[in-house]
């Protein structure tokens, strides 16, 4: 553009032609950059190929392999590629394994409820009540920092908290609320739910706070001027507007809780077996075909849950 301005100054006569030419070259350059020419298209393909191939080869193929192996024949310590539904029948006819499926769904629903119930008020405070952007970021970072530590250590940290001689029991006894230590705090479904809630609640707080902080304050002011009470404002304005955040948070939490096995193994003393735990034990005893069956079932459950949640919100639009 500078060049064309210079030529303008130099000769008045040729200015029109020079400008037209520069516009034309610029258009050509842009066209070349955007799309259309085959060289641009091959550059795109070259840039995409490594990542796409990596995902197809190491994620999609193994998942298909898992479906395939679930129909293989399980021998005592090996599997054979003779197709059978034996492992599938074994899963659905066994009370233990079917119970694990139900327990996984139950724990998932409970953790979804607790992360929402505990996380929403915090998100409300961060997103709506803290007006200062810097302070907002600081509080949010404060919530995220525990996520920065080792996952296994985070899980393990609940043991000295909830144990019979743990911190919670000691505090409750000191306060005189209980005379005997509560034993059911650790190595029960309760401890698994507490552990998972603490680990995953951040994923609920973040998206909700983000949606809340985008609400235009004048909207709430207008509602108040028209005489709406606090509860009515919350019910008819704030909550509906925060709903996409809730759904995104629910997707995050669901994806992570459904595939869990480490928290339940470490905090339940192997008493609470989720689908993930079944896979780990089966692989441990070389029952690959059976592990694959459980894997396919887990995938199916997740696909249904995510598809159901995505009906409420367009993820690509919101993010």
């Amino acid at each position: 553009m500078d060049a064309s301005r210079d030529s303008n100054a130099l000769s008045d006569g040729g200015s029109e032609r020079a400008t037209a030419e520069s516009v034309r070259t610029e258009q050509a350059a842009r066209q070349q950059a955007r799309s259309g020419t085959s060289s641009a298209r091959s550059t795109t393909a070259m840039l995409l190929a490594p990542g796409t191939i990596w995902m197809l080869l190491f994620l999609v193929v193994p998942m298909l392999m898992m479906v395939y192996v679930s129909f293989w024949t399980q021998k005592t310590f090996s599997i054979e590629p003779t197709l059978t539904v034996q492992s599938w029948v074994a899963f659905f006819s066994s009370e233990t394994y079917f119970a694990a499926l139900l327990r996984t769904i139950k724990i998932w629903l409970i953790v979804l409820a607790t992360t929402f119930a505990l996380g929403y008020p915090t998100a409300l405070f961060i997103g709506l009540f803290i007006k200062n952007k810097t302070l907002q970021t600081i509080v949010l970072v404060l919530c995220v920092v525990p996520f920065w530590t080792s996952f296994l250590i985070r899980v393990l940290a609940w043991r000295p908290m909830l144990g019979k001689e743990g911190a919670v029991n000691i505090v409750l006894e000191k306060l005189g609320l209980i005379s005997e230590p509560i034993e059911v705090l650790l190595f029960t479904e309760f401890s698994v739910v507490v552990g998972m809630t603490q680990i995953y609640v951040v994923f609920m707080v973040g998206p909700i706070a983000f949606m809340l902080s985008r609400i235009d304050p004048s909207l709430i002011e207008a509602a108040r001027d028209l005489g709406a009470g606090t509860w009515r404002i919350f019910r008819t304005i704030i909550f509906p507007l925060s709903l996409p955040g809730v759904v995104v948070g629910a997707i995050f939490v669901s994806v992570m809780v459904l595939g869990e096995f480490a928290t339940s193994a470490a905090l339940s003393g192997r008493k609470v077996n989720l689908l993930g735990n079944i896979i780990v034990t089966q692989v441990g005893s070389l029952k690959w075909a059976f592990a694959a069956v459980v894997g396919v079932i887990l995938t199916a459950v997740m696909a249904v849950v995510i598809a159901a949640l995505l009906r409420f919100v367009d993820l690509r639009k919101e993010l």
Binding site: M55, I153, P160, M161, A167
Partner: protein
């Protein structure tokens, strides 16, 4: 809503409780890591304050009934793996995001394919890779199958970060360089890279930390030589001792120091960018 003083202070108080719920286990873990040893157990009360369990980790204590944590080689493996994963996923993420700056057919498919890597549960990724490796007769190793699994997980993070960065900056800057006859390679080095540097740094941070801490994907994919999280998980099933708490404190400090390095590099790059823009103004 924001000017209801009672509601405001109630929610502020609640948030305080919430944050202490998030931090309490760490505080307890940190306190108990200073338990007396070797007879002190992983619970209250503290018999005597000591750094015995920290010395225990580094093998500075006389042998006792508590076995030392098997972390020496596992730590080196985990650090190497995290470094390999960091480089690969940052390169893949930048390349793929760069491709997304142009509209192309099937972009939706590629987008969801990449994002799938962070959605599919780790235990299934590990299982699938183990099945394929077993069937092809490939032995499972931390630098082979586990490395592949880690990149599957961290590459989507790098991709999303870089996508956000590319969406933000004005491509006319690059076009200007091209139209002035600067070669594409030089343009990338001198124009594009400085602009996307914060994103690259963030991708590296994500990839390194996620890989260093990765557990469910590694469990089936790593084979016989364990990474750090696997070694730690192995000690869960038996009785736990405060040495694992001391280890928890140390590894947390390590994560925070990585975060600090990231913060320093980031602020340096911001300052350099500001200085460059001031220089341009003067010229």
């Amino acid at each position: 809503m924001g000017n209801r003083p009672f509601l405001r202070s109630a929610l502020a108080f609640y948030t305080l409780l919430f944050i202490s719920f998030l931090y309490a286990p760490f505080v307890v873990l940190g306190i108990l890591s200073f338990q007396a040893g070797p007879e002190g157990g992983p619970q209250f009360p503290i018999i005597e304050w000591s750094v015995y369990w920290y010395e225990h980790i580094f093998g500075l204590t006389p042998p006792s009934r508590v076995a030392p944590l098997p972390i020496g080689e596992a730590l080196i493996r985990s650090l190497s793996l995290a470094f390999m994963t960091m480089v690969t996923s940052t390169v893949l993420g930048t390349m793929t995001a760069q491709a997304f700056r142009r509209r192309f057919k099937g972009s939706g498919f590629v987008f969801y394919l990449v994002v799938l890597g962070m959605i599919v549960p780790g235990v299934l990724v590990g299982l699938g890779l183990a099945l394929v490796a077993n069937n092809l007769g490939i032995s499972r190793t931390w630098w082979g199958t586990a490395y592949v699994a880690h990149v599957l997980y961290t590459f989507p993070f790098a991709f999303l970060v870089m996508l956000a960065i590319f969406n933000r900056f004005d491509r006319s800057v690059e076009e200007a360089a091209w139209s002035l006859g600067v070669t594409p390679m030089r343009t990338f080095r001198k124009v594009t890279f400085p602009l996307i540097f914060p994103g690259v740094l963030s991708s590296m941070l994500f990839a390194f930390t996620l890989s260093y801490d990765e557990f469910p994907r590694t469990l089936f994919a790593a084979g016989a030589d364990l990474t750090l999280p696997l070694a730690i998980y192995g000690t869960f099933s038996v009785e736990i001792h405060p040495n694992i708490f001391a280890f928890g404190v140390l590894t947390t400090l390590f994560s925070f120091s990585i975060l600090a390095v990231y913060g320093i590099l980031m602020s340096l790059s911001v300052r350099r960018a500001r200085r460059a823009s001031i220089q341009e103004d003067i010229e």
